[in-house]
């Protein structure tokens, strides 16, 4: 075990994967010698050579198109999109190509070896274009897997699963936690299964669900609620496509209440899917309406970032409203 921040854990996962399989390649804007704008790929070019870790020209649709081609040829590309906010030129390649490669060919061809890494989320004074949480756009696309880790341990284990999973995976990294989250991480290989949620904390009065950086927010809100004597159960979805509805439903059947806390704008964020599914699975167990705490339905602002965000206080208030319903 070693103390690692989330970036170091990502770097360690890439290192382990590249050492294990020669077909793993890492590329994107500035990922080569410079090691990426966040330094997630530091040292990989030096260790594995320019043919396996390299800078690409500045063209996201090209990066993902290239990655699709390489994956269809049998490679295990790990393509980096520098910010989730800049993934949209590649939307066509991801939604129409990556996601449908296997299905449209009747499994003659697939791009299952592909992993797309991209930082997402706010809280870093990034304004409109360095803060967004675009996971819901992609969650509407059958054929993709979407994984979002909350801390360094999770990041390494989930990324290793993503790289070697036989399906294309969009791996979204909470950039606010890159250096803020530090924890014990094994230096060797280990994996965490995709599509399985984790009960981070057990409780009996209310279920709190989130993913990625929002788990930290939820934990802070739960601490406030615990002081009021409320026992909170916290679930990290880890994967939002496919997602583990059973673990959430089971928890809600026990607690009778559910608050979903998410960074993205409210309307059509992934929490909407969670709410709809849980009311189907656990309707008669619910003692109050399922609540969603989200960003506002506005572009992500700069000066009003604090006000915009679905923070721990808003989450705490939602817990109280749910209990006092």
């Amino acid at each position: 075990m070693a103390k690692m921040n989330l970036l170091q854990a990502i770097n360690s996962a890439l290192d382990v994967a590249m050492a294990k399989n020669d077909k793993v390649t890492v590329f994107g804007e500035d990922v080569g010698h410079f090691g990426g704008v966040f330094r997630a790929t530091s040292g990989l070019q030096e260790k594995y050579g320019r043919s396996r870790c390299f800078n690409t020209p500045l063209v996201e649709q090209g990066i993902i198109g290239f990655a699709n081609g390489l994956a269809s040829q049998g490679g295990l590309p790990v393509a980096e999109i520098q910010f989730g906010d800049y993934i949209f030129p590649a939307f066509d390649q991801i939604v129409n190509e990556t996601a449908k490669f296997r299905y449209r060919s009747g499994n003659e061809f697939d791009v299952g070896g592909l992993t797309i890494r991209t930082p997402y989320g706010g809280g870093i004074h990034g304004g409109h274009y360095h803060s967004q949480s675009p996971e819901a756009y992609f969650a509407h696309t059958p054929g993709l897997k979407i994984v979002i880790p909350r801390n360094p341990y999770e990041a390494k284990g989930l990324l290793l699963s993503a790289i070697f999973d036989p399906n294309p995976v969009l791996f979204m990294e909470p950039k606010r936690m890159y250096r803020a989250a530090v924890g014990e991480v094994p230096e060797e290989e280990y994996t965490i299964p995709l599509g399985k949620a984790e009960v981070v904390k057990e409780g009996s009065d209310i279920t709190l669900v989130g993913w990625g950086a929002q788990i930290e927010v939820i934990e802070k809100a739960a601490e406030l609620a615990e002081k009021d004597g409320v026992s909170c159960e916290i679930i990290d979805l880890r994967s939002i496509l496919p997602w583990d509805a059973d673990t959430v439903a089971e928890s809600v059947m026990k607690t009778g209440r559910l608050v979903i806390s998410q960074e993205a704008p409210h309307t059509m964020a992934f929490g909407s899917e969670v709410a709809a599914t849980i009311q189907e699975k656990a309707f008669l167990y619910l003692e109050s309406p399922i609540a969603r705490v989200s960003g506002l339905d506005t572009p992500y602002p700069l000066a009003h970032e604090k006000e915009y965000m679905a923070d721990h206080l808003k989450t705490y208030e939602a817990i109280k409203r749910s209990l006092n319903y």
Partner: protein
């Protein structure tokens, strides 16, 4: 009826391979690196007033950039993007336009905006995201925009403005306005698909647009050698059937003359033009990166010797339009004015919380109004957690 206008190629009877570097485009230059005009050149007609305006704008931008990099290091602003070393490219090109021509920037053209008349105060208000910022504090520092000055608000995603310029210019042509659109971008952004889309459409639709590429050698850490394999950006213009000029981006007189000719072609002949201005990004990409991690001091020094400001200053000195003393005094004055404006802008509060839902649509939806009310109620409950806006919701 549409016609097939691609010229029929001549026929050859053995395989003819055109070398990928067959087309070498020369660089237009008027002043040598010491500011001395080359023998026998025709300099553009620039009167003393205009020359001094160009020079003072260059001095101002140099001071502003240096001061704001320092302000970011002091933690007074969150982020900054400087145009150090590229002042001639933006200011020389803006000076050759008509005021009513549209400018679309990438994010390193504060010089053009200053030339158009954006005030120190306006710069500072944007950089501090305060209540007086025209952009209402919504975007990161340096994402300026000003309708009154015909300067489109900047967006971070790279290259998106390029096809937009084609569309804007089409509208200008459609209205028979006699105006054009000049759009800036870097050689890195020229790798984006939007570059291809924008230039190809401009050529096909014959719009009065000037595509101004600042080739500064780097896209964050990625050198041009890892960005493209051809001879820079200029040959691509020829591929689109577009008139193309390569100019020394550190020679403000050459940039001015090149842009003037491009404007004439755009407006009088509806010919879009690609200009590639050769320059160098003297600072990091932004305050978020350190260039010592990806390039050498020697390389930087070689370009420092080609400083566009020093070059133009020497030219003006030799012409007798400025003297050392006045130029230095002016720079000192600007330094003080920038510092005073900075101190003033950082005291101005952020926009009122109500602004958070404005401009999503022309008028806020009922859902947004409801979200705002809930937010205000929440802020009233926890005023200490939202110190920037709690005062305004009491």
């Amino acid at each position: 009826m549409a016609t097939q206008t691609t010229k029929q190629p001549d026929v050859v009877t053995s395989v003819e391979v055109i070398d990928g570097h067959a087309l070498r485009i020369p660089m237009f230059q008027l002043l040598d690196k010491d500011g001395k005009p080359h023998e026998g050149v025709t300099l553009p007609e620039i009167d003393k007033d205009l020359a001094l305006k160009m020079f003072s704008t260059m001095q101002f931008i140099r001071v502003l950039d240096e001061r704001m990099i320092a302000a970011q290091r002091q933690g007074r602003i969150s982020f900054y993007l400087s145009s150090l070393g590229e002042e001639a490219a933006s200011i020389g090109s803006a000076a050759a336009l008509k005021f009513d021509d549209m400018i679309m920037g990438q994010y390193r053209e504060q010089g053009s905006l200053a030339f158009r008349g954006f005030t120190i105060k306006q710069f500072m208000n944007q950089l501090f995201s305060n209540a007086e910022d025209l952009g209402k504090g919504r975007q990161m520092p340096v994402h300026y925009g000003c309708a009154d000055l015909n300067f489109m608000t900047i967006s971070s995603p790279l290259g998106t403005q390029i096809p937009q310029a084609t569309g804007y210019a089409y509208g200008q042509k459609h209205e028979d306005s006699g105006l054009c659109t000049l759009v800036y971008f870097g050689e890195g952004a020229a790798s984006e698909g939007d570059f291809h889309a924008g230039l190809n459409m401009a050529s096909v639709l014959k719009v009065p647009a000037i595509f101004f590429c600042r080739n500064n050698g780097y896209a964050i850490s990625t050198p041009i050698s890892e960005q493209l394999a051809g001879d820079g950006i200029a040959p691509r213009g020829v591929g689109y059937g577009m008139k193309t000029i390569r100019v020394d981006g550190n020679d403000i007189l050459a940039v001015y003359a090149a842009t003037q000719e491009a404007r004439r072609l755009a407006v009088e002949e509806n010919e879009p033009v690609l200009i590639e201005a050769m320059s160098y990004r003297m600072a990091g990409h932004s305050t978020s990166d350190d260039p010592t991690g990806y390039r050498t001091r020697d390389e930087e020094q070689a370009w420092r010797d080609k400083c566009p400001l020093k070059r133009f200053r020497n030219y003006l000195l030799s012409k007798g339009w400025i003297n050392e003393e006045d130029a230095d005094a002016q720079q000192q004055e600007v330094k003080e004015a920038v510092l005073a404006a900075l101190k003033e802008a950082e005291k101005v509060p952020v926009p009122h919380i109500d602004e958070i839902i404005n401009d999503v649509y022309d008028t806020p939806t009922e859902q947004l109004k409801e979200q705002l009310e809930q937010l205000k109620e929440h802020v009233r409950k926890y005023p200490d957690a939202y110190p920037k806006t709690s005062e305004g919701v009491k």
